[in-house]
Point group: none
Chain length 524, copies 2
């Protein structure tokens, strides 16, 4: 449980993050997200806006009995009483109390132009709205934080009202005054200067909440910490409106590993990558492979350029040991593939290349030729592993011999669209003809081929396509371009990726499918 002395890590995925276009958490999703955030040791989880959003009201009700948190406390978000209304008469404020959370976070206007033009009230009434609401909630036993909306823009227009709002909040018993860059237009140097100035004028714990409209949300937050803030707000994976919010995972990783501030309990940091991906799943948003710290490619190194050096001293090339945040280092095999890359990759894939220097040389040459034709193994580890193993002396024979295949799509007179495929293959000397349907020409081909092989290789019954990516390369007009297909296949336990390249999209897919099934039989 966060104590008054500790640094506050405050996550608002479930309130501000949920504003992102396309996110729609169910109540069950929200409970799951809260548990995940707790696992990385955040101190505060802002769960939503009770009263204003029915799902949020329900979330807080269910959380009371269903949510057991180890590190975090739950926070209900809402606004100060409305202008001209008594706080005890304001149903929004009552809804905040009904949520029965230990902490309430109020949003207050701190920019004179917003007070006058949006709220249409006076500066004095605005201060009273803040003071009354804070005092009312404190009297009911709540810890109260106050988000000062549009603080930085307001500070530029009139530096005194924002400070007055902070003082009114603290005097009424608020625990934190959060400076919010609501429109997201700040840069870190400016944030540092404003925070230092406010720090010198106001006692009480200051917080920071940044949006990413200039691409500086994380940096702005860290600059604020250096200038005296001890409460940071973020969302998982930086989800939020417009360009999003400061990414909680980057904030935590930077504060701990770069600024030496132990803001989460021991043992929590290695959970970062797992939790980042799990929350992306719940939000139904593809994880960003290039996300700092937790992205799948965050520690992936390309190029024969320094593969030899990485083997010697990984710390010369990684700003951080990836294991600290639950990630790992990957070597990519690319156009710049040299012997060192191939050896390293082989080791990573569990292929023993010791004493096979000639094999390594042949593989390097083969990869360069294929890549010039459009093949790319960077994202297709399973195809690369098969290519490596096939170059070794004791390489096994292919899974089957192809005689022919045919796949078709028909849009009939009745309007039905049907795809069918027939494969003729030789499996262990036996000729097999297999026909199947599918929802596209490639899916039908995949079904037909698996059907042809499954009695000989029963484990293929659990194998299915998980994803299919098509890329048309170097279009050369009507004569056609090269098509590269990447296929993700799963057996319900793990996934592997294979690649195929050809002028004909179906033939390219065929290559990727054959690799996928061969890999399934030999290496899963």
């Amino acid at each position: 449980m966060a104590t008054d002395a500790s640094f506050h890590v405050f996550d608002t995925t479930l309130r501000d993050g949920a504003q992102r276009e396309g996110i729609s958490f169910s109540v069950a999703d929200k409970l799951a997200v809260a548990r995940l955030l707790d696992e990385i040791g955040v101190g505060y989880i802002e769960g939503g806006w009770p009263g204003a959003l029915p799902k949020d009201t329900e979330f807080f009700a269910r959380a009371r009995t269903e949510l057991k948190l180890r590190h975090a406390v739950l926070v209900a978000f809402g606004s100060t009483r409305r202008a001209g209304v008594r706080v005890e008469d304001d149903p929004q404020v009552q809804a905040l109390l009904d949520a029965e959370t230990p902490v309430v976070c109020l949003v207050a206007k701190s920019d004179v132009r917003h007070v006058r033009e949006a709220l249409r009230t006076t500066l004095e009434e605005n201060l009273a709205m803040v003071a009354d609401t804070v005092a009312h909630l404190v009297a009911h036993g709540r810890r109260v934080f106050v988000d000062c909306e549009h603080f930085f823009d307001g500070y530029a227009a009139d530096p005194d009202h924002g400070v007055a709002v902070l003082r009114a909040a603290f005097d009424a018993g608020a625990e934190v005054g959060v400076l919010c860059d609501t429109n997201g237009g700040m840069l870190p140097m400016g944030v540092g200067r404003v925070v230092a100035d406010v720090r010198s004028r106001v006692d009480g714990r200051l917080g920071i909440h940044c949006q990413d409209d200039t691409g500086c949300a994380v940096a702005n937050s860290l600059a604020a910490v250096e200038a005296g803030v001890t409460h940071v707000q973020g969302t998982a994976n930086g989800y939020g409106e417009r360009a999003g919010n400061a990414d909680t995972f980057a904030l935590v990783a930077n504060l701990v590993t770069k600024m030496g501030l132990p803001v989460v309990p021991d043992g929590c940091l290695p959970e970062l990558q797992r939790v980042s991906h799990a929350i992306a799943e719940l939000a139904n948003i593809a994880p960003d492979d290039h996300q700092p710290f937790v992205g799948a490619s965050a520690f992936a190194h390309k190029a024969g350029l320094h593969a030899s050096a990485i083997k010697v001293s990984p710390e010369l090339y990684n700003h951080l040991d990836p294991a600290v945040v639950g990630n790992d280092m990957r070597i990519l095999v690319t156009e710049m593939a040299g012997r060192a890359s191939v050896e390293l990759k082989g080791r990573e894939l569990g292929v023993d290349l010791d004493g096979h220097g000639d094999v390594v040389g042949r593989v390097v040459d083969r990869v360069k030729v294929l890549e010039a034709e459009g093949w790319s193994f960077e994202a297709a580890d399973a195809s690369f592993e098969l290519l490596l193993r096939a170059a070794l002396p004791e390489a096994p024979p292919p899974l089957f011999e192809l005689e022919s295949y045919k796949t078709s799509v028909e849009h009939s007179r009745t309007g039905d669209v049907v795809s069918e495929a027939t494969v003729k293959v030789h499996v262990d000397g036996e000729r097999v003809i297999s026909t199947a349907e599918g929802n596209g020409p490639v899916n039908a081909l995949d079904n037909a081929l698996r059907q042809a092989l499954v009695s000989r290789h029963p484990r293929l019954a659990d194998v299915s396509l998980a994803d299919y990516k098509v890329r048309i390369l170097g279009w050369k007009g009507g004569t056609g371009a090269t098509t590269r297909v990447l296929v993700d296949t799963t057996d319900g336990v793990g996934e592997w990726t294979t690649v195929g390249v050809h002028a004909n999209i179906v033939e390219a897919s065929w290559h990727a499918l054959v690799d996928a099934l061969t890999y399934a039989v030999r290496h899963r």
Copy 2:
């Protein structure tokens, strides 16, 4: 053309950005990217590493005759001479000269540990490598910039060698010494301190190159500018290894609109969004809707909350007028916005919707239904125009009635891969059966359909596919996802784009093809 006095905006999409996992630019792509970067007024375009990468060698050769730049100059990248080798004997350095660019950018080690452990040489030899190579290139008439690799980590280990490298470079005639945060582990406050210190110890133009491993690349670059740097490096959309590089578009937008530095010529800033999206297309990477400044959602506000306030005073809610960077404000999820968009778009496409309020309403509803199914008209103006016109009272009948089609791909016993398609259509009451081949199932279908229609519509003889893009949406496991196909068609004079969506890739392509040919006949 950039002069010595100006601020340098240096883009390395084609060299460092191309290191991103999954990017593979053809030479044609590289030329197209260079033209686009020129359109936003960058001063320097680092085109690649001649000698080391065959495609880059070819790029520089073709650029000499095929690339006409208005604002930028081309830069060739490479390394200093190898240790113990004379500069005039080093083929890598000769390759830099052979590229015949006005500017060369050299990468030099500036971290003592890298000099000793990775290069396995002495600090003195490292300084000689820098001086010799710079002097050699300057003597051959090149302007030389020097990237000081691992500068910040090196500075922490030994602040003197990095400074010595800078001095050696400047003394030998280099124009810029670029401080590179190669491992990406810096935060802005630290960058500012190091740059200020270096600025006080070294004369000569300093530059900054940041990687995004802590999520602070843009902020770090701006902090460096505030501390005295006058040359910033970035990549389009922040593409690059691991977590990527500083995003050139965010750098430029921040420098101009937040820091008051006119780093690109007038009229270039409004091209930012268009160029960002076009380069994403060339890289075959889906644009990031939440990217600062240029993302489709960067200025999108959820309605209801403050839609009325936004209409009154947009500057209270936007940190910047979106039009400055070629973007626009979107109000999400309101019927009013839907109608306004349709009317605006109709006007833009030359469709007169006056007095057809009911039509507008029906189109809005239809678009919402289609978009929920995966259709997107943002990039398919021709399909949208056909949809609009089809909703008007005097809408013409379809070009033909489809009876059926069939398309197949066969991989024969002899190893040939053949695609064939047959369409059965009714054209002006006459039944036509047409069969054609192609290099894929869709190309065959396109050839068969055009063949069926060309005698009735002779202008189709000049029409052909120019590009074909496939995106698989929302994969739901083996039951199949939705496929969205975008088809670019040309008549040799102009191009137009149409869209099709269906679970079956061929049926999706069919829709896009029919729209493409209908548009060709009616509106070209």
